[in-house]
């Protein structure tokens, strides 16, 4: 029987994967051709989606991007006489063996090892591809040993702040309380990022496994995954995965024979970017407005409902199973400096080959944008890349040789954040983008502190005046005011929402003064 694979990922579906699957089914029925279509996760090679795969002696052969119109010729090719199925060399959409596509072949996929290969809700697929090896190892260890492994691995939080994960684990483990929690931050509000979405939709058991290991190690028997409402598919997949995991004894009163209890629940956000900030997120789970809490107290000591809580991003928790399964030293052999392990970078915006690129830290932004991404989709000159979401700096091509490393980015006034890279060509106006950053901050501010709440609105007015005026003195004054405002926001805000809105604004002004009607020297004054 002809066996085909096509993703059920929401974005593959947003570009027509369901229509292709339906067309295949119909055409196969018409031809009375026995056909087995498996709906897998996505490889993350989004520019090739919908990506159809077919078994062959050389592994899976890829075809893409496929439209329903291509289906008859593809089925001809699959069933044609010369060559074996899946080797219809001549088809115009043939990509060859998927694993040999350079974009994929050169990646170092640890977290996304199963991406595009397994069916998201198949426990058998998950186990057959290394799933639960970490949990099995963890159950045989003492919680303190697990925490030590996380510390030794060098894993840092992938949600943005890059705080060493092991230190948080130790703090929560050492806290004395009758009830503790593990909370997964799946708010993924940063534009240009989609790795959390892909992982939850495509490999939910990996996140579940990571959370179970965390719960057992720190002594928490309850976990929440706070998912943004913009991700309905992820919410549905997680709920189904919980039920499957419960039936199989991975969640419940005796987790994987450990004698310890752990269970999970999804909580759905409600369209507030600030609820990605961890304390606002906890407020939101508690049923309140998402207002940022002052720290201390640390959530690790007084978090959800005032109790010790381990809060981590999806990717941080999903990195844990492989660390425990393969050992801390295996993991820390990837990366550079203090940025250890792999990072799933996300290529977005005006890019020819958008998608997910998991690599060890240390490759350059240029390798990512030009090598993997293949430059702009429009074919026009590359102008800048915003790295790390809406609060990240706009980096000009002259700085593209910077290695993707937390410290190297911090040194140039930028950040890696959650690993999103949004590419822009020369038609994107950076003064508009600076204004947008301020507008976004004004709309999404929780309102607790003045520099963020008022400063963002004032900033929009300043940019408007700066662009509108033809009087050079006035323009300089406004530019000066804008820089002052950035400083005030950066140093006077309680959280990074107000604090880091300065990054996109100040970088736009610094590197693209012409978009503000200024010269480089004027902008630098």
């Amino acid at each position: 029987m002809l066996k085909l694979y096509i993703p059920c990922d929401s974005v593959a579906r947003a570009v027509g994967a369901d229509q292709v699957a339906d067309a295949l089914q119909r055409e196969a029925e018409r031809r009375q051709l026995p056909l087995d279509i498996q709906r897998t996760s996505s490889r993350g090679l989004y520019w090739l989606e919908p990506l159809l795969e077919c078994d062959s002696a050389q592994g899976r052969q890829g075809f893409g991007p496929v439209t329903p119109d291509d289906v008859p010729s593809l089925l001809d090719a699959f069933t044609g006489e010369p060559g074996e199925p899946g080797e219809p060399g001549g088809h115009s959409l043939a990509l060859g063996p998927v694993e040999d596509i350079p974009y994929l072949k050169t990646q170092q996929r640890l977290l996304f090892a199963r991406a595009g290969i397994t069916r998201p809700l198949s426990l058998d697929d998950y186990r057959a591809h290394g799933g639960f090896a970490g949990l099995e190892a963890a159950v045989a260890l003492d919680g303190a040993e697990v925490v030590a492994a996380v510390l030794d691995s060098g894993l840092r939080g992938r949600g943005g702040a890059a705080f060493p994960a092991g230190i948080k684990w130790r703090t929560v483990r050492d806290a004395v309380a009758g009830q503790k929690y593990v909370v997964c931050n799946a708010d993924e509000g940063d534009s240009g990022t989609f790795a959390d979405r892909m992982l939850m939709e495509g490999d939910p058991f990996l996140l579940i496994e990571g959370m179970i290991i965390a719960g057992l190690a720190v002594g928490a028997d309850k976990g929440y995954i706070y998912v943004r409402s913009e991700y309905p598919d992820a919410i549905r997949v997680l709920d189904q995965a919980f039920a499957i995991a419960r039936d199989a004894g991975y969640l419940g009163s005796d987790v994987a024979g450990s004698g310890q209890a752990f269970d999970l629940e999804v909580r759905v956000g409600a369209g507030a970017y600030i609820c990605g900030e961890e304390t606002a997120l906890l407020e939101s789970i508690e049923g309140k407005r998402g207002i940022v809490r002052a720290k201390p107290p640390l959530p690790a000591l007084q978090g959800l409902f005032g109790l010790p809580t381990l809060v981590h991003n999806v990717l941080t928790l999903a990195s844990v199973p492989i660390i425990i399964a393969k050992g801390a030293s295996f993991y820390r052999d990837f990366g550079m400096g203090r940025s250890l392990g792999t990072m799933p970078f996300q290529l977005a915006g005006n890019i020819r080959q958008g998608g997910l690129v998991e690599r060890a830290f240390g490759l350059t932004l240029r390798e990512l944008v030009e090598g993997y991404g293949g430059g702009t989709a429009s074919g026009r000159p590359l102008k800048a890349a915003q790295v790390g979401g809406p609060l990240g700096a706009w980096v000009p091509p002259s700085h593209f040789d910077t290695p993707l490393d937390y410290e190297a980015f911090a040194a140039m006034g930028a950040m890696l954040g959650h690993g999103g890279v949004v590419v822009a060509d020369d038609t994107l106006n950076m003064a508009s983008m600076a204004r947008f950053a301020l507008q976004f901050c004004a709309e999404e501010s929780c309102g607790k502190c003045t520099p963020c709440r008022i400063g963002s609105t004032r900033g929009m007015e300043v940019v408007d005046r700066l662009i509108a005026t033809s009087d050079m003195t006035e323009r300089h004054d406004q530019a000066l005011l804008l820089r002052d405002l950035c400083d005030t926001m950066q140093y006077g805000s309680l959280c990074a929402m107000g604090g880091m809105t300065a990054y996109p604004v100040a970088s736009a002004l610094k590197y693209f003064p012409a978009d503000f009607g200024l010269t480089h020297t004027e902008a630098a004054q």
Binding site: F194, P232, A270, G287, G349, G354
Partner: protein
């Protein structure tokens, strides 16, 4: 008001099921909005009573979150992504096209009651920008023609 009273059984069912959940307010609001389409006024007092909160606290939460509506939505809800990745692929031009085609600002409901517009900041489809969500379904690699066709389809089904 009588219309609102019709919703009471739904509200009571949701409250009976969820009120003892820790941090129940957001799940309750989501469930009511899911079942009724919006959060009717009548729900606020019921929720406040069931959760032992003040009316102001419940109102405060509803108004804080962009997702919660206090009026019935149009037959279709279209959310065009306005965040950076989609902007870099022409989202602003698509937004202008929508405003013109529907004679609306970014937050309005069309006069025929067919479509409510709302901006959204990222749908996680950024590798295939620009993107929108129409009634819960994401469409990516959007073109002006495709957008026009989607809007027309929404309006045509309004005619029948």
């Amino acid at each position: 008001m009588p219309d609102e009273l019709l919703h009471l059984p739904v509200i009571h069912r949701v409250l009976a099921r969820d009120k003892d959940t820790p941090g129940a307010l957001l799940p309750i609001l989501h469930a009511i909005q899911h079942d009724i389409g919006y959060i009717p006024d009548a729900a606020v007092a019921e929720i406040a009573h069931a959760l032992n909160l003040s009316l102001a606290e419940v109102h405060g939460v509803i108004s804080f979150y962009h997702d919660f509506r206090t009026t019935p939505p149009a037959r279709h809800t279209l959310r065009l992504c306005r965040a950076e990745s989609c902007q870099s692929r022409g989202a602003e031009a698509l937004a202008a096209q929508l405003r013109e085609q529907l004679a609306l600002d970014d937050h309005g409901t069309s006069a025929d009651g067919a479509i409510s517009l709302r901006p959204v900041y990222c749908l996680g489809a950024c590798a295939c920008s620009p993107a929108l969500e129409l009634d819960g379904q994401v469409h990516a690699r959007l073109t002006p023609e495709r957008l026009r066709a989607l809007v027309n389809a929404c309006r045509e089904d309004a005619a029948c």
